[in-house]
Amino acid sequence: MAAPGPGEYFSVGSHVSCLTCLGQRLQGEVVAFDYQSKMLTLKCASSSGKPNLNDVILINLAYVSDVDIINDRTETPPPLASLNVSKLANRARTEKEDKLSQAYAISAGVSVEGQQLFQTIHKTIKDCKWQEKNIIVMDDVVISPPYQVENCKGKEGSALSHVRKIVSMLSIPALHVLLELLIVLFMD
């Protein structure tokens, strides 16, 4: 709860650590700090270990204690790049829809396998949705429970064959990861 004293403003780029009132230790590079709202934004290495990603933490310093500056900023922070707002808005919308869709499936009683399949397909084919317990891919292919290869139906074509491929690989747990990798590769 210790409010930073005057002059203890965080400089962008410095590393700080703190302890929240909930007992969570947080550490990261200062990205932004708003004195009025006492909101501090930290950038941390991705918790999932992905190199290109970061975890961003927004901290209300009003509920933080033990704020330590590990090291001060060594260089002038980089200029801020302009942002594509529409792109962000789209991301927000799709993320929301995805979550709602997922929630729909869950509430519809779709099996875990089905959800898993949906998520897997959704990774590469965004145009997939739930229809009851059926997964509709590209409005073309329908995958009905129990979501096996033979359950994939639709107009013969690349879409159907592709979906079947995904489904068939999903059915083999060991290949699950590989499948995703392949999908990523192929899709790219």
Partner: protein, 1063 residues
Amino acid sequence: MSMKAGGNRSKPGGGNTAGAAASGAGGSGGGRQNLGRGRHSGKGPSPVIFNGVYANMRMVHVLTSVVGTKCELKVKNGAVYEGVFKTYGPECDLVLDAAHRKNPEPSIGPRKEDIVESIIFKASDVVVVTFKDVDLNFARKVSSDTDNFTDAAVSGRINGEHKEKDLEPWDGGETHNSDSLESLDTDVSNGWDPNDMFKYNEEKYGVLSTYDSSLSTYTVPLERDNSEEFLKREARAAQLAEEIEASATYKARVALENDERTEEEKYTAVVRGERETHTLSRENKYIPPSQRNREAMSWGPGRQNSPRLGQNSAGPSTPRPGPHDYSPSSGADQRVVNGGPPRMSPKSQRTPRAHRVPPCRTSGVPPGVDLISHNAPGEVPATPPTRSSSSGGTWSSVVSGAHRPRSPRQNSIGGASPGSSSLSSPQTATAPVETVTTPTSASSPTAASPAPNMVASPSGDAKECRVQETRQTSPSANKENIKPLDSSPSITRPVCKGPPSMAPDHRKQIDNLKKFSVDFRLQSSSNPDPAFDQMMTKPVRDPADKPKDLPLDKASTVGREGTEDGVVVIATGTSGGAPAPSTTTSNTSKPGSPAALSPSPSAPDQKRAGLDVTSQGVQTTATSSFSGPKHEEKEEKKEAVQDQVRKSTLNPNANEFKPRFNTQPKPANTPTPPRPQGQPSPSIVVQQPPTVYGQTVCFPQMYPLTPVSPGVQKSIIWKSPAMYQVQMPHMTVSQSKPYRPGKVPNMPQQRSDQHHPPGTPTMMHPATAAGPPIVAPSPAYSAQYFTCSPQQFTSQPLVQQMPHYQSQAQHVFSPVMQGSARMMAPPAHGQPSLVSSSTTQYPEQTHTMYVSPGPMPQQYPHHSATLHPHPQHPQPSATPTGQAQQGGPPQHGGPPSHPAASPVQHQQHQQAAAAAAAAQALHLANQPPQQQMYSALAPTPPSMTPGPNPQSPQASFPSAQQTVYIHPQQVQHGYNPNHMAHVQQAHMQSGIVPSHHPAPTHPTMMLMATQGPPGGPQPPMPQTALNPIPVSSTTHFSYLAHPQGTSVSQHSEENVRVAVFVF
């Protein structure tokens, strides 16, 4: 903190200005401010004062960068909410979309009901917000390092200074160019003169050209002298140059460069011209056989199918031609033609003609149409030409008269008649003559002449009578030559047809014809060969025989009745010959004549216009026996063919028909009475069976269609058709069978249709029954009967021809035919004819559509399946109708109703086929019925039917394609067992199904549909009559509707319609 999103947009940028001002507090504020300014400037010049967080550029930037990512937000009480970060407010209130309170149990995702659309968290309640795995560069528009030269990067660096660049007007500088520009507009010269270039280069660059106009570097100058050698060479060179320059190739190539015609002339007018030429020539001008052939040939390629059709139709058509002056003249012409290469390649000629005919139809040439329709395949072609050539009017009138009557009659007579009638009726509705012609053409095209004739004969003399009446009516035109002549003309036409088909045999035929001319009746009656002989002779005879023919014609004319009888007889003769020698002769003559006459002869006749009368007379005389039949109608020829075909079965019917004919014919000509006698159709039937069978081989092909009436035979035949056909050709070649062969050859195509007609004949009976319809019709029917028998015979001829066709177009046709045949076979009743017609039609259609082959295959399967049944059916008698068609004639009495219907259908089919063959265009040209038929696929021959038929057939076909299969099978199963009609339906369905397969091509579909419809229609008709009608309710309905329209006659009409549909 509850402000929310108020500043969403302004956030990122907004913060900047504010940031700059307000964030002075921050150590890095300066930098921020700068950055912020940059952004702000980007966003907009308006000075916006940002409050709170929005004033903190860095905070705005980072928070904006994580918009749209999932985050976990912990509040003071320790609850954790998960949602999509949507936005934030100036007080750093946070908005999460689709947020839900995260449960301790990690596994299960949120339920729909757990999710809140969006939640606004006050900054004061928020302890920490975690955005995992965020790509902070996700929304970064450009990486400054990598994208320096894009517009965005460039403008981005300007950062805020949106000052528009000042546009500067382009200064062209000196105006010296204006001169040259002007010169470009006024300079007419084609670039620089070479000498100017040389001069310019020399002056400007000092380059001297070594150009030598003599090109001595490349060639040696010619040393001219007066030596004999040189003169010789020079002369030789000049000669060669002349030859080269005179060559069509050279001209064609030069024309490409020097063609001053407008594009319209080159690309629009050409077609018209050709068509017109063909049609017109046919109608009004005499076209040399060779040219005709050419035309035919030209058409032929596309219309290979037509050959059969032509042949088939030819058989019928020939009769038509015969009736008219055309037949005579045409006979002669045909003879000539046939005698020539044309005859030799009757098929080709025929086909061409047939092809032509379709065009004619399309073009609207009534005669051609009639011919086509009548002659369906062969005759049509030939006849059309003849008609057109001789005198479109006369022919048309004659044809129309005959045809119309026929068609109507046919329609009235049997189911076949329905189609024809429908067609005819429409046609009739239109101008009697022309319309009639068209109608007839329509009806006659395929079945019309054949079918009609057949029908007439089968259905009874009534049809013939009608036909005759019609003839008489139209005959007036024919009468030009002489009413008798008219009758004879028809005969002659047949004769002519014979020649075409017989082509090779033409000479023989001619000889035979001569004999016939002398002994016509006897020969014809005695042997089909006579017909062939006639056919053969006709070509030859035409010239020489013409005189004879004239006498004969006179004789025949003298007693048109005789002629009619003859016709009938012919039919019968062909079939059985028993009826009466004369009749048989007529039949034979018909066959022969039809083949020769109808195909090319008719054309020649017509072309010979002038000769028409004389030639007709001659032909008629030649045909005298023929003429009788012919007069009865080219139909008779068809009938003859059909009769032949029918002979086996038809004869009985034929007899019946003949009587009617006689009655009706009488009006037109005494011949009718003879016909009744001739009706010998029974006898014919008898004969036919043999001949037919012998021919059957040929028939098979034909039969495919005919199968229905012939049913078993046809079906059987079909299988062997190829074999037979091949043999048949030989047969035809052989004079022994002259008449039949001749007829057959000619008939083949026509006959094939006619075969159907045979069925139609049976149909005719109904028609006859109902029939009185039109006088002409009866004749037509009779003719049809004849044709039918002829067809059977023709089937042989056809076979012969077929070989050609097969070899040439047979591929398509045979397949189609087979397919249709199969289809037909199922129909066994009248369907065979229908099938045949349909097949023929298909072929024609195929021309347009052609994919039909595909359909064919499909059909085949079905057909095959059905065929087997059909064959059986026919044999059993179950096929009475079927038999009636082929052998049907005999059965005509009983079966006739059904058979008749089928016959009618056949005729119609033929006609329809012819019409179809003529191309849908014909349909258009033709009356609505045909069109409808075709369009509808013949389901509803008449206007009404088209719709229904199409619907049922089409619907079943198109949509059903997949489904259709089932239907076919089902239909076949159920139907076959039940009735021929069923079978037909099945066929139809099968046909439909095939179409589906072919589906790719609508045409095929159309064809299929047409086939299907026919089958469907027929079946329906039968069903309606029989009750069995399970077929498609729709079709039935349509059909039914028609049937209902006119009870008996209606039935016939229905049949016709059905036939149409089949087509």
